[in-house]
Amino acid sequence: MLSLKQTRHLRTVLIGSLAWLVALAIFFPIFWMLLTSFKTEIDAFTSPPQLFFAPTLENYIHIDERSDYFHYAWNSVVVSFGSTFIGMLLAVPAAYSMAFFETKRTKNTLLWMLSTKMLPPVGVLVPIYLLFKDFGLLDTKLGLVIIYTLINLPIMVWMVYTYFKEIPKDILEAARLDGATPGQEIYRVLLPIAKGGLASTILLSLILSWNEAFWSLNLTASGAAPLTALVASYSSPEGLFWAKLSAVSTLACAPILIFGWLSQKQLVRGLSFGAVK
């Protein structure tokens, strides 16, 4: 017969092992991708797959030869940071106005903004494609920046709005009595207080833009194609380059993965529009 303390200990061990098992299973594809990126192409295709092998860095060293990696990576950086920057310029004043100058229409406006996300991108693919062709925006970074700004704007406004809502109005009143203009209110009072929330909004926008793969696949060819498109180009059956595919994928995902790990708590609040804290 086990004592109460022992059963409790046994339960913790069991739960812990089960949790580790599940986590390892879910993480396995990423681990395997990382592992494969250090194999030679021959090792990568060997059957059965090997857990132990002579690691090589050749895929990383030659990554730029086959795929012009840095060209695509630079496009990803420009497009995601550009759209996030413009998105914040639009979202912060809008959220400020909605949180502190609430009118009868505010709630409906917020819901309407979110409902634009419900519009499936395919519904507007054709006109956007044709408009982009007419304006010379096809396969340009500017074109992608415009699209990403617009598709992420509703979420950004919602998130910033949620964070601003939590700030007591008294603080703003005090600033106002001291003669602060709305611009000064935002810049001097709100931004410092909502720093964490704004950081997670920026982060989420970066993640969504970095990983976006509908518009980037349809509106770019090679000039402005970001990393999502580079990876997709490996799907064409032009030979087996799985070790290189893994190396490119690892490099394409690593920055965002690390970003995500560091900021998971902040992200949850934003992603659930403040419903979960």
């Binding site: 580790w20 599940v22 986590a23 879910i26 993480f27 594809p29 990423i30 991708m33 494969t36 059957s47 059965p48 797959p49 639009l90 004043p93 809008a94 106005s97 909605m98 100058f101 009118t103 709630k107 819901l111 903004m113 979110l114 419900m118 519009l119 499936p120 519904g123 693919l125 054709v126 006109p127 494609y129 044709l130 617009l150 704007l153 509703p154 809502k165 203009t181 709305p182 970095w210 990983n211 793969a213 999502t228 990876v231 997709a232 799907s235 799985w242 595919l245 893994s246 994928s249 965002i256 993965l257 998971q264 992200l267 949850v268 992603l271 659930s272 529009f273 403040g274 419903a275 979960v276």
Partner: protein
């Protein structure tokens, strides 16, 4: 856009000039400033939504194939008729629905179970959490290709090796079970999202309530049904809402793995319209399809927004 922001600037400047204006006047000025600050976003989204949608409606009513320029006569609802009676539509609608519902069910159930599992402290919980949420940050094209080539491949894939180890014949996933393979990949991407939200929600669960129930003799299953699950209702609703938005237009996973095939087996509406527009150049029919997708998405999602979104703003 620039005009309104300019106006905002002018307004604030005049505010400063007449600093001693009466409170009523000041209030009106402030609300005008508020309007000026919200309008750039509203205008941008309005244009983003209205202009392409109006164009889609127009294109859907004319004959418009990029291969035959100039032949753009008005054809009424012909495009809709052809799209709806195309064999691809029935398959696409069914696959869309099946994909959304399966992934929702899998990710919510798995998400709840995992969130409960990692709620009690154990050795290395921090690392376990990080591993659990990681797939959410992987770009869709990467997860699709890693699954297709490194894991599900019938010759060199890891799963094939596991099958062989147990003496079974490896499954050729993308030939025999293409839609299930896609569901597997997409679920892998979205379970972490559910886990992330629900895991955090679990932390605000009232421990005293649980202890009290336990003292009253409630078992773990009773506690789960009567305390944990009701507590998670709102976060689950959030998970369903956000996942639905993204799942309705799954594209990259299909584009990089099966290309919609074999036949129409993995073609969802998003991919069907894409192939009509950019592969067959039939803008008219693709536009009709786009509008139908919009209608379907609205029926499914607008109810969700009304239901859950109202809830959210009330509490916010």
């Amino acid at each position: 856009m620039s005009i309104t922001s300019l106006q905002a600037g002018v307004n604030t400047a005049s505010d400063m000039a007449t600093g001693s204006a009466g409170p009523k006047l000041q209030k009106r000025r402030r609300s005008r400033v508020g309007l000026a600050m919200v309008s750039p976003s509203v205008l941008a989204l309005l244009v983003w939504m209205a202009v392409p949608l109006a164009m889609t409606i127009y294109f859907s009513l004319i004959r418009y194939n990029l291969l035959y320029p100039g032949d753009n006569e008005f054809v009424g609802l012909e495009n809709f008729y052809y799209f709806l009676t195309d064999e691809g539509f029935v398959a696409g609608a069914f696959n869309t629905l099946w994909l959304v519902l399966s992934v929702l069910a899998i990710s919510v159930v798995a998400g709840v179970l995992i969130a409960v599992l990692v709620d009690t402290p154990f050795f290395g919980r921090g690392i376990v959490r990080v591993m659990l949420i990681s797939p959410f940050f992987i770009m869709p094209t990467v997860s699709a290709l890693v699954w297709k080539n490194l894991l599900l491949h019938p010759v060199s894939g890891v799963l094939a090796a596991v099958w062989r180890f147990f003496g079974a014949t490896p499954i050729d996933w993308f030939t025999d079970y293409p839609l299930q393979a896609i569901i597997l990949i997409v679920s892998w991407q979205w379970i972490p999202f559910a886990v992330l939200i629900l895991m955090t929600a679990m932390q605000s669960l009232d421990q005293e309530q649980k202890d009290a129930a336990r003292l009253d003799g409630a078992g773990p299953i009773a506690i789960f049904w009567h305390i944990t699950l009701p507590h998670l209702a709102r976060p689950i609703a959030v998970v369903i809402m956000i996942e639905t938005i993204f799942l309705l237009s799954i594209f990259a996973e299909i584009f990089t793995t099966t290309g919609g095939g074999p036949g129409y087996e993995t073609t969802n509406l998003a991919f069907l319209i894409y192939s009509q527009a950019l592969l067959q150049f039939d803008v008219g029919m693709a536009s009709a399809g786009g509008l139908i997708a919009v209608v379907i998405a609205n029926i499914a999602a607008f109810m969700l927004v009304r239901m859950i979104g109202k809830n959210l703003t009330d509490k916010a």
